[in-house]
Symmetry: C2
Subunit: 397 residues, 2 copies
């Protein structure tokens, strides 16, 4: 006798995880080396050597009662200070340790922010295509997501549609740039306009509306793009970050929430987020990895590795006649299905051992997502399989 909510969740279980399982099953049949599994956003380049060394040093040098013990529910103060200083030096912010709450990944972070701001019946605006879990996170607090369709040429948000999507129940807007699943970076112009619209809507509805910036891919950007930090566009912006991608440790569950002083009642907000961290059962972010992440806060992932995959895959697919959005960041490629029902396309791809995820899992049918965080050898070998798939749909020359 499971709860109704979990029965619903089980019925509509994650399409990404489902494809990941299909990939594993296929690998058991035809050999792991013959499956081109583009399903999961699991970093493919190892954590930096300095992370390993930092962890070993912490284990050798620190009092284990402190290293593995309880700290403030918001995290170690020195860790929060290191992150605040790092952000200040990169983005000209004026954070202190007190603006930062360490979290169990970005997923934990978004949930404690949602718990802190959402009442039942509230609405959260999301830009399609979007990370499907946002829906579950809002549902955890009896709130609903309202989806805004993209500009299908650029996959920037359609800002007229955005402005029209507000109601009296709107409490928050989530942006995720560089974007999962499209790889698109929201332009400075887009973000400036989003800020303007939010200010006018706060005025119109006479209440706070929060912009939540989900930034796990902040540093994963190509072609000389500049890292962006969204608090400058709008006063009520709350940032959620994860070290999963920058330090290649998604299994360790470490991230943070940053609440600038410009946020209305910032102090109360931070107190609420800290309480939510405790009462939702996270209690605090894992302790050793907090310290290790702070020690490696200036490390970068192997961007060249992903960039090579990006170019090889994008150019290869274009040559085969597929229509793709050119990725600017993250490690995802967004491809237009040659047929309207992309589930049919995903099934056809599987015949060639290509594991893709359907766009409807991200609130945007007619497209598929490819996570190109696999070996470059596989990327290039996959193009033979894609050639057969293209042939089946009469693409190319």
């Amino acid at each position: 006798m499971l709860s109704k909510r979990i029965q619903t969740a089980l019925a509509g279980s994650s399409a990404i995880r489902a494809m990941f399982v299909e990939g594993k099953e296929l690998a058991a049949k035809v050999g792991e080396e013959n499956v081109f599994d583009f399903s999961l956003g699991n970093p493919a380049t190892p954590a930096p050597e300095s992370l390993k060394q930092a962890m070993k040093d912490l284990l050798d040098d620190m009092d284990p009662l402190v290293l593995h013990g309880y700290m403030s529910n918001a995290g170690y103060e020195d860790v929060r200070a290191a992150i605040a200083e790092n952000l200040n030096s990169r983005f000209g912010t004026d954070f202190t340790w007190n603006n930062i709450v360490m979290t169990v990944g970005a997923a934990g972070g978004i949930n404690i922010v949602f718990k802190t701001i959402l009442d039942p019946g509230d609405e959260v605006i999301v830009f399609a295509p979007f990370f499907g879990e946002y829906k579950s996170y809002a549902a955890n607090f009896d709130a609903a997501v309202v989806t805004v369709a993209p500009d299908y040429k650029t996959f920037q948000p359609d800002l007229d549609a955005f402005a029209a999507s507000f109601t009296e129940k709107t409490k928050a807007v989530i942006v995720n740039t560089p974007n999962n699943p499209t790889g698109v970076i929201y332009s400075d112009e887009t973000m400036t306009k989003i800020g303007e619209i939010l200010r006018s809507k706060e005025e119109e509805y006479q209440k706070e509306i929060y912009l939540i910036s989900d930034e796990p891919y902040r540093e994963l950007i190509y072609d000389g793009a500049e890292e962006n930090f969204l608090t400058k566009y709008y006063h009520n912006t709350i940032v959620g970050y994860s070290f999963s991608k920058s330090l290649s440790l998604p299994g360790e569950r470490i991230g943070y929430i940053a609440v600038p002083n410009e946020v209305t009642d910032a102090e109360q907000m931070l107190a609420g987020i800290e309480v939510a961290n405790r009462t939702l059962g996270f209690v605090n972010a894992p302790s050793l990895i907090q310290k290790a992440a702070a020690a490696c806060v200036n490390e970068k992932t192997n961007l060249e590795f992903y960039d090579k995959n990006r170019i090889d895959l994008y150019e290869g697919l274009k040559k085969l006649g597929f229509t793709c959005i050119k990725p600017q960041g993250a490690f995802y490629l967004w491809l237009k299905s040659p047929v309207e029902d992309e589930a049919q396309f995903v099934a056809a791809a599987k015949k060639y051992n290509l594991i893709l995820v359907k766009g409807s899992a991200f609130g945007c049918s007619g497209y598929v997502r490819l996570a190109y965080c696999i070996s470059n050898d596989k990327i290039n070998r996959s193009l033979d399989a894609f050639a057969k798939l293209a042939n089946e749909y009469g693409l190319g020359v």
Copy 2:
């Protein structure tokens, strides 16, 4: 504009954490060595040397993409298998890896179980005094706790009151033995009767009612008591465990849920718990510490350390004329306030730099909790302060 739930939570914030903060403030004034802080259940004996070695070996020997990467949301299969085998060898259970879900501590574990079984309006029976967070955890899913008063002589549950507390809305019962805050171990007789009552209530209401056993103190038992595992008393028992106390790593957030095959629709239950782990934002238990805990699954904490504190404190307080429940497990001592309003007693104790937590934080006023996980030197020095406190209340000879 915080959510109403968080506004309520902030207003009634944790009394334990509040006393912990008072202790810190006092330490800043009079010196840390002069404050006898009995507020927090933070292990006082360091993590075993083998844990440090296991972590360093894992860092040296394992592929970092696996060690720090995503795994199944339920945890690494080899970790779950190691825990299943350990439980089987100690308690005669017949678990496989599939019965175990790795969790972000016991707090994370209880929340994902609650999410899996509780619908809005459901009731969870708790035995007073109880860990106050249970109330927040139930409220996360719009369920309420129903409190059953204890037998005040033994602090075993009052089983007649228990039997009378069921309604059509009862979905679960939580037990926590060895108990926080009393240190009492529920006897075999108590547990047998709880099982009988649960079976008859399932029959009466014609539905599943779950017994959730919160077992972070399972191995912290004294006077030759035998470790107990509660699945043998009742078929619909779900066990939540934390390594926080046995391996002294409460900051690392690592535990597990065990669902025996005897649980109704066990497979569905496990699938639901895994989905809840993902959608509540935990995603999975932290990865490195999963592997390290599995490597140390046979380690025990320094029981002698706590036992000496227990004896010294209990005998010392009795001699001073205080009325205490003799602790049988965990690292808490439950003391009867000499005045009905224990908040007044807690305030008086603070004058002598004694930091205690009022029983009403555990749903049982008129008592206070002492967490004796501090140095033995402090335990013995605290008795001088308690002597002055006893004198103030005219206790002893």
